[in-house]
């Protein structure tokens, strides 16, 4: 009787470990999709690295110039687009002037998408608020090929890398760009980065050469690599992945997309942790049986 029971137990663990991966995929789809249908308010404490980003923008006086570099593509939109929208909300709320650029070709398009959304909100929710004007409150310089060379050249003269904005208007004809020659005339750089070129290149070629202040929003894959830069002060702060974006939205007291996604994120992480626990229990049980 014991031999038959032992054989059944062994079969169960083996079956569990050799389960069709499509069943795992199904669990993941359910874990991610179902929470999207529930609207929950979540408590998310703001971490010091995110507070650093918030403070860097909040402490700027009205009229300060902020350069935002959009260095990502649609593949990273769920993580970085909410951050982009929050950056715009924060900057426009505090009457900061925004200079948009991109080291990735799709970056300036992502910026336009974020601007569209924020302007729509401003029109619907705050009818008395002035909508930012192109050329006066913000400008989009577009994309330039060259990666870190672009960052390096802009440190000497923006016009070397961007003789005109994305629409072809010479910078000398844009009111916002009057008096903006290089990083000395910019009060803060915000970088949204999904890879190369990205935050690391901004630290190497802008912060350490021209001593500008830099804060960043990164995909979660990149975020751990940025912590050494935060510790040395090369970065004032970093928003890491969707969680970082959610924390920033809450710091801004403007919960939006990132916060709404966190419930799905939490359930998905829980499911993966359960899978890992299950896999290890099966592994150790089978190992114990083999040794005994």
């Amino acid at each position: 009787m014991d031999e038959i029971t032992n054989q059944e137990k062994k079969t169960f663990w083996e079956n569990l470990l050799s389960i069709d991966r499509r069943i795992i995929f199904l669990f993941i789809i359910i874990a991610v999709s179902v929470p999207l249908f529930f609207k929950t308010s979540l408590e998310i404490p703001v971490s010091p690295v995110v507070q650093g980003v918030y403070n860097a923008i909040e402490n700027l006086p009205a009229g300060s110039k902020v350069l935002i570099s959009f260095d990502y593509d649609p593949g990273s939109m769920p993580e970085l687009q909410p951050m982009a929208e929050s950056f715009f909300r924060h900057c426009f709320r505090n009457n900061l002037k925004v200079i948009i650029m991109g080291l990735w070709p799709q970056g300036p398009i992502q910026a336009n998408m974020a601007l569209d959304k924020v302007f729509k909100e401003l029109k619907e929710e705050e009818k008395t608020v002035k909508i930012p004007q192109y050329g006066i409150d913000y400008v989009n310089l577009g994309f330039t090929a060259g990666n870190e060379v672009v960052i390096d050249r802009m440190g000497h003269d923006f016009q070397e890398s961007y003789p005109a904005d994305a629409k072809g208007t010479p910078l000398s004809e844009i009111p916002l760009m009057q008096g903006v020659r290089n990083y000395d005339n910019v009060d803060l750089i915000l970088n949204l980065s999904a890879g190369y070129p990205g935050t690391q290149e901004w630290v190497q070629y802008a912060v350490d050469v021209f001593h500008v202040k830099l804060a960043a929003g990164n995909t979660a894959v990149q975020a751990p690599s940025m912590y050494p830069y935060v510790q040395t002060g090369q970065l004032t702060g970093v928003l890491g992945g969707m969680k970082g974006g959610a924390e920033y939205e809450l710091a801004l007291k403007r919960p939006a997309k990132a916060v709404s996604y966190m419930f799905s994120q939490a359930v998905a992480h829980g499911v993966i942790c359960l899978f890992i626990i299950l896999g290890n229990i099966a592994f150790f049980t089978m190992r114990k049986k083999k040794t005994s």
């Binding site: 577009g142 870190e148 995909t219 040395t232 002060g233 993966i272």
Partner: protein
């Protein structure tokens, strides 16, 4: 049916095409994948043309040509022809007999990158990080900071010891390398956790697109 609605349907169908790979490889997935490759190539072609080729190469040459024709003088912008020459050499890689000429362009790219990265990596990722590691090992009255600084110093130092392969990892040196491995494992665990977070975020974005923008099941 508006263009926007048609566009969302096309996007949703292509999304499901890519997801169909999860069941098994199939022609629907292969079609979506091939379309992605072609669209990406075309996208880069167009962007590079309008955002770089025209403003940086064509416009400069047009300026010089204009100076020559209207004022009869040779402008310094003609020097961009040398860059264009190297660029054309790069394209010649496609011609087997004279493809070796592309190595000149490649040498230029490699030299520029090597020269730029030499100083930048040394300063930002080397010296500054070493400076950041030099922390006071005892901070009076602040146990948390003391422990934190100790961990930063010991972790960085032992991690670097692990990467030193010119000496055999045994004895005290081996022990230090072992401690370094533990710190590296914590780093890799953190990176794994964040990678899971990142990938799940992307999937959440796609499912939100399907349920909100396409099926309109979520407001």
């Amino acid at each position: 049916m508006s263009g926007e609605v048609i566009g969302v349907w096309i996007g949703a169908i292509l999304t499901l095409g890519i997801f169909s790979f999860l069941y098994k490889d199939n022609p629907f997935y292969k079609f979506s994948e091939a379309l992605f490759v072609g669209i990406s190539a075309g996208y880069w072609f167009v962007v590079t043309f309008w955002q770089y080729f025209i403003p940086k190469f064509w416009d400069n040459l047009a300026l010089s040509f204009n100076e020559l024709v209207t004022k009869g003088r040779i402008d310094y912008h003609w020097i961009y022809l040398i860059g264009g020459f190297f660029g054309v050499l790069m394209i010649l890689r496609l011609v087997p007999k004279i493809g070796w000429l592309s190595r000149w362009s490649l040498a230029f790219i490699v030299g520029t990158t090597a020269g730029l990265q030499f100083t930048r990596y040394l300063e930002s990722n080397g010296i500054r990080q070493v400076v950041g590691t030099i922390q006071p090992l005892v901070v009076g009255g602040n146990l948390g900071t003391t422990i934190g600084n100790l961990i930063i110093v010991v972790g960085t130092f032992t991690g670097l010891i692990y990467f030193f392969f010119s000496k055999e990892h045994k004895g005290a040196f081996g022990g230090a390398a072992r401690v370094g491995v533990w710190f590296l494992m914590i780093n890799f665990g953190a990176m794994f956790g964040y990678t899971v977070m990142s990938r799940m975020s992307l999937l959440i974005g796609r499912m939100d697109y399907l349920f909100t923008d396409w099926l309109k099941l979520i407001k």
